[in-house]
């Protein structure tokens, strides 16, 4: 079934090809004929790759896994926007009905010093994991917890924490930001834990350590253009960045270490 309109279109793909981190890359063109508009963007790449393999050429490497918009693995910069032209979706959820016949589509990897290219469109995002290791947690060993309902959390706070926690760590915020800043990602985790009573004990160390580590990884600075929020497939709000700034300023001034 899918869309009731069964249509096919022709598009031209211009894809970044780069053998590995050390070699230089360049764009290559691929003509795609008769693409069903019910197809997802990545399924079109599957078709292209099968074609390349049959022709004895190197298929295009790209990251993807769950293909339902939650794992955060897919990461294509499509026609000047991370995850393509549609708001609120990841690359894997983008469907060809968002394009028109005759379109030319430029596909690039995330571009950031902190996300080096591995091959073609796949980049290394382990910087995000290291930032989480610097403080994106509540220090509670297994077995230490008291009964869950002993902690009352106002619904508003829980909902807000959840909205921040919905981040999938895809890196679109970094890719979209003209400064390559990771503030939205970091602030989402800081916010989630700052909003909950469980997160209060470590909140000062958390924000200071995470921000410090973020800077060390080579991400850029936030100039509040709001591009990250607009391109975030999960709608993570700029409010989180303000909250992190607040936490950071507060912690910087009051921490006595």
């Amino acid at each position: 079934m899918g869309g009731n309109s069964e249509k096919t279109i022709n598009v031209t793909l211009k894809v970044w090809r780069q053998r590995n981190a050390n070699e230089k890359g360049k764009f290559e063109n691929y003509e795609m004929k008769g693409v069903s508009t019910d197809m997802s963007f990545l399924e079109m790449f599957d078709v292209l790759n099968d074609r390349l393999i049959t022709e004895g050429k190197d298929p295009i490497a790209f990251d993807h896994d769950c293909r339902e918009g939650i794992c955060g693995m897919c990461s294509m910069y499509i026609n000047g926007q991370p995850h393509g032209p549609k708001q609120g979706v990841t690359t894997c959820q983008l469907h060809m009905r968002s394009f028109s016949d005759g379109d030319s589509i430029i596909v690039e990897p995330w571009r950031s010093a902190a996300f080096p290219v591995i091959k073609d469109l796949a980049v290394n995002r382990s910087a995000f994991d290291r930032i989480i290791s610097a403080g994106g947690f509540i220090s509670v060993n297994t077995g230490n917890a008291k009964d869950a309902n002993n902690i009352l959390i106002p619904k508003d706070a829980a909902d807000k924490a959840f909205e921040a926690a919905a981040c999938i760590g895809c890196g679109a915020c970094v890719a979209a930001c003209k400064n390559g800043s990771a503030m939205l990602f970091v602030s989402a985790k800081v916010s989630q834990l700052a909003l909950l009573p469980q997160g209060q004990v470590e909140k000062q160390d958390r924000v200071l350590n995470m921000v410090k580590h973020m800077d060390e990884e080579g991400f850029g600075n936030c100039t509040n253009t709001g591009a990250c929020e607009a391109e975030c497939p999960k709608g993570i709000s700029l409010e989180n960045i303000a909250r992190m700034n607040r936490e950071y300023l507060g912690a910087s001034f009051t921490q006595n270490k």
């Binding site: 970044w16 764009f27 910069y77 026609n79 000047g80 926007q81 032209p85 430029i106 690039e108 571009r111 950031s112 010093a113 902190a114 979209a176 003209k178 400064n179 390559g180 800043s181 080579g218 991400f219 850029g220 600075n221 936030c222 100039t223 509040n224 253009t225 709001g226 591009a227 607009a230 391109e231 700029l238 409010e239 960045i241 303000a242 909250r243 992190m244 700034n245 607040r246 936490e247 950071y248 300023l249």
Partner: protein, 207 residues
């Protein structure tokens, strides 16, 4: 950036206030009185140093920020569709700021140097800033330069005003929409007032 920015904004309020004195259209009497006060009051003189330090800090911050940000993306995208996710002026704060800085050089050359000379020469009491204005704004190219400067300021402020609050951690369901509105009105009104001076004087509306 936010803190120094807001500090500079506070100066704009004073500046635009004094500028507005010309609209008494009293041959610059009120204006000159205000200008004279600013040039001679010792507290203002100390604050002037603070202002310069604030400006220098703002520029220095901007430069470090820009350099760091450039490093964060060593390979540029082939195509960026910025219009899809942000306003052009929020992405052009560096260019707008640089234009402003260039304008400031001209601006200070036009007026501030004259006043300073007068201060050192001890002729500050005879110094007539309003006459200087008349002279500068009789030349069309100065008017154009000033208009460019003022419009750069307006767009710089349109982003900068509300952005400063975000940087300082103020983002609130209740207050942020109000801050944003105030920011827009402030940028537009202040800049229109600034722009009104060269235009009205060039056209001879203010004499």
């Amino acid at each position: 950036m936010g803190l120094t920015g807001l500090f500079l904004v506070s100066f704009l309020v004073v500046h635009v206030g004094i500028n507005a004195c010309i609209f008494f259209n009293d041959n610059g009497e009120t204006f000159n009185a205000a200008a004279h006060f600013m040039a001679t009051n010792p507290i203002i003189r100390i604050m002037e140093i603070g202002l310069f330090l604030g400006l220098l800090l703002h520029v220095f911050q901007a430069l470090t920020l820009t350099l760091e940000n450039k490093k964060a993306r060593p390979i540029a995208y082939a195509i960026v569709k910025g219009s899809a996710n942000s306003s052009w002026y929020s992405r052009s704060m560096g260019i707008l700021g640089s234009l402003l800085l260039l304008f400031l050089v001209v601006h200070l050359g036009n007026f501030w140097i004259g006043t300073k000379m007068a201060q050192f020469n001890g002729t500050i009491n005879e110094h007539n800033t309003f006459d200087e204005l008349r002279e500068v704004f009789s030349k069309w190219y100065f008017v154009i330069i000033y208009l460019i400067g003022v419009f750069s300021l307006m767009y710089h402020l349109l982003h900068g005003f509300q952005s400063a609050f975000q940087t300082l951690g103020v983002n609130h369901k209740k207050y942020t929409p109000a801050i944003k509105k105030v920011g827009i009105w402030f940028s537009v009104i202040v800049c229109l007032l600034f722009a009104a001076m060269p235009i009205t004087m060039f056209l001879g509306i203010i004499k």
